[in-house]
């Protein structure tokens, strides 16, 4: 039974890893070697030429920096705004809070394609086309994040807040010192989702960016696709660069998402 479990897990892991291994392998080969039949998973003469060529055909450093700045801002701001809004909706009683929450949820139903032109006009009106602000601002609030944090804060034991109140903490202090640290698993979960969504975002950055000023990595990678043919070794080199931060982020955050933390309580 044990052996069977291991066997199944190994097969599953191999299936997951294989595409990534292939992209790494492709990125280390020359264009000519890629066409060989049968394809080689382990390159005969691996080289970093694809990465060098990639840095030549596009301002790679600038593009990665843009992606990093946009992702950092969106992730941090989205977690903070979502946590605050979720806390407010979950722990404060005020008129219309249910209605307000429904409006939030309702925005999840509006497809992005509907809002893209109005949003574009708005950004143009701000004079922000081709700037990083135009990539960041529309992403700083997330209805899904509000929902996630609200559900989390609804389960928070009242004793925690009462203890904070006894120590003389106001709502602001209570949020930052008690509630927000308590919501660490939600922060980790939503943080990683926001991170991935903004790191991989394509359509909006494509529309906003005119040149390398606001070009992000997914847009840069798409520009490698020719109309008729594509240099896959370059695309894969770019994809490997693009996927590394995601893997690192997961490795760092995974610890905080562990299930036992989801059932914390007064200690």
């Amino acid at each position: 039974m044990h052996a069977l479990g291991w066997g199944l897990l190994t097969v599953a892991a191999a299936t997951m890893v294989f595409p990534f291994a292939w992209s790494v392998s492709t990125s280390l080969q020359t264009k000519e070697a890629l066409l060989r039949i049968p394809p080689q998973l382990i390159p005969e003469s691996p080289s970093l030429d694809s990465y060098r060529e990639l840095a030549q055909v596009m301002p790679l450093g600038r593009i990665v920096l843009n992606s990093a700045i946009v992702t950092l801002f969106i992730t941090v701001l989205q977690v903070v705004t979502s946590a605050m809004a979720g806390y407010g909706l979950a722990r404060f009683r005020f008129r219309g809070r249910h209605g307000l929450f429904l409006v939030y949820l309702g925005t999840l139903m509006v497809p992005f394609q509907v809002t893209i032109v109005p949003l574009f006009i708005l950004m143009r009106w701000f004079g922000w086309i081709n700037t990083l602000q135009a990539l960041i601002l529309p992403g700083i609030a997330s209805a899904f994040g509000v929902f996630l944090f609200r559900q989390f804060f609804l389960q928070m034991p009242a004793e925690l807040e009462e203890a904070a109140a006894l120590d003389g903490a106001g709502p602001w202090r209570t949020f930052w010192s008690v509630a927000f640290p308590y919501a660490r698993p939600a922060t980790a979960t939503h943080g990683i989702l926001a991170f991935m969504a903004s790191w991989n975002a394509f359509l909006w950055p494509l529309f906003v960016a005119r040149n390398e000023n606001a070009m992000t990595l997914p847009v840069g990678l798409a520009s490698l696709h020719g109309r008729y043919e594509t240099d896959w070794n370059l695309v894969m080199a770019g994809s490997v660069i693009a996927v590394i931060p995601v893997i690192v982020a997961f490795a760092v955050v995974q610890r905080h998402m562990s299930p036992e933390l989801l059932v914390g309580g007064p200690r």
Partner: protein, 442 residues
């Protein structure tokens, strides 16, 4: 905790300031720093100021392209440098997008009031953009332009970008499709190389012999989709539209589709399953295809083929017909720098300097009548028989175009796919295509 949070916000604010600062400093041209604020301020100012003193006021125009990226950005830069040297008052800024997303971005920009001053259009989308009033009328600018002789352009190419008597665009480049063949496989099979007066029957007979050379060798490949089909139909004397009527279901069209399907059914052309995700071009380079019908844009990709190969004008059945894939360029109707944008486009499409750069780089071909411009292109080998590229122009046909072009292509492609899968006969597929296209015309 709170203190740390504020520190973090402070740091983020500093990064924001830093990146905003570097954003403005890295941009070289003076007009570029805050593009959209500049755009709004110039719209606020009366547009007449530019017209009264053209040489004095330097302008920056935005040119949006799909064909330059990723391989020809350096060539485009060289053309712009030559243009700016002659026109010191104009700076051209390039924006690119991959072809698949180009038109979504362009439509968003136009709808959002942020259209580029000049942009590229392929022939099929040109009709749609021109009929929606998004393109500036170039006729008067061309008429008053003393340095322009319209006969430098191929007449048919210029006409392609004329809608109902108004010139909305200039022809930029064209590309065509040829019959490519693997000389080694022809030699092995003991076949004569294709000639210009080959017909469908010759092609098919040769393909059959080539397919017999081995299990992983096929005689022929041509995609079975909208693009190949309207041309193959034309080679059989059939066209999608005749006098405003949809005639895609005529016997000559059905016969043409059946001819394409037979290649797959008889095992002469590999099926998608047999190709296993390898592209047709890669299969040719691998030596698995005796002949392939594909575009001249594959010349550079086929340079790496480890065998000799050459090209020929495609065979026809009742007549000869070859593709004419044209790209044109147009000026935005919303632009307040139309004159400068027109000057750039005229240089880009018709100047010998730009044509030379384009030809030397094999970045498609200019649509110019001066044959000496093609000398360097014709001298390159492979293929040795390169002059058939120009010869193909004699048989060139433009694609069928309707306003709802993308929907027509999708509908036809879906039906052709079902015909390839054997779900529909050629007759059924084209009868259904007629019904669907008629619905799109309403």
């Amino acid at each position: 905790m709170r203190k740390r949070m504020w520190t973090l916000i402070g740091v983020l604010a500093l990064i924001a300031a830093a990146c905003a600062g570097s954003g403005t400093s890295t941009t070289a041209p003076p007009g570029d720093t805050t593009p959209s604020t500049q755009a709004t301020s110039t719209t606020a100012a009366p547009p007449g100021t530019e017209a009264t003193e053209p040489p004095a006021a330097p302008v920056t125009i935005r040119y949006f392209t799909f064909s330059a990226a990723p391989d020809h950005l350096d060539d485009l830069d060289a053309m712009i440098a030559a243009f700016e040297a002659e026109n010191p008052d104009v700076t051209v800024e390039v924006e690119t997008a991959p072809f698949d997303e180009y038109f979504s971005k362009l439509r968003t920009q136009i709808a959002g009031g942020d259209a580029p001053d000049a942009f590229e259009l392929n022939y099929e989308s040109f009709v749609d953009f021109a009929s929606k009033g998004t393109l500036a009328d170039l006729s008067s600018m061309m008429a008053s332009d003393e340095s322009l002789d319209p006969s430098v352009y191929y007449q048919r190419a210029l006409e392609a970008f004329n809608l109902d008597g108004t010139q909305y665009g200039l022809p930029e480049s064209y590309s065509t499709v040829l019959l490519f063949y693997n000389k080694d496989l022809f030699d092995q099979a003991g076949l004569e190389y294709p000639t210009e007066d080959w017909t469908w029957a010759d092609e098919k007979a040769a393909a059959k012999t080539l397919a017999g050379l081995g299990d992983d060798v096929w005689g022929f490949f041509a995609g079975i989709h909208f693009w190949e089909f309207y041309k193959t139909a034309a080679q059989n004397g059939c066209s999608f539209f005749t006098d405003g009527q949809v005639t895609i279901d005529q016997p000559a069209c059905v016969e043409a589709l059946q001819y394409m399907l037979d290649y797959v059914d008889e095992g002469i052309q590999p099926t998608a399953a047999e190709m296993g995700g390898v592209s047709d071009g890669d299969m040719f380079v691998n030596g698995q295809l005796g002949m392939i019908t594909t575009g001249i844009w594959m010349f550079s990709a086929f340079e790496s083929a480890p065998f000799p190969w050459d090209v020929q004008v495609e065979p026809g059945n009742t007549e000869k017909a070859t593709h004419f894939f044209a790209n044109g360029v147009a000026v935005s109707a919303d632009s307040d720098r139309q004159e400068a944008a027109y000057r750039w486009l005229r240089f880009f499409t018709s100047s010998p300097e730009a044509a030379k750069i384009r030809v030397d780089a094999s970045w498609e071909l200019p649509t110019l009548t001066d044959e000496s411009l093609y000398d360097s292109y014709l001298a390159i080998e492979p293929p040795a028989n390169r002059e058939v590229v120009l010869k193909s122009l004699e048989y060139a046909i433009v694609p069928p175009v309707i306003e709802r072009q993308a929907e027509m292509q999708d509908a036809v492609n879906a039906l052709l796919e079902r015909a390839v899968a054997g779900e529909l006969t050629a007759q059924e597929a084209l009868e259904q295509a007629k019904t669907e296209i008629e619905a799109l015309l309403k």
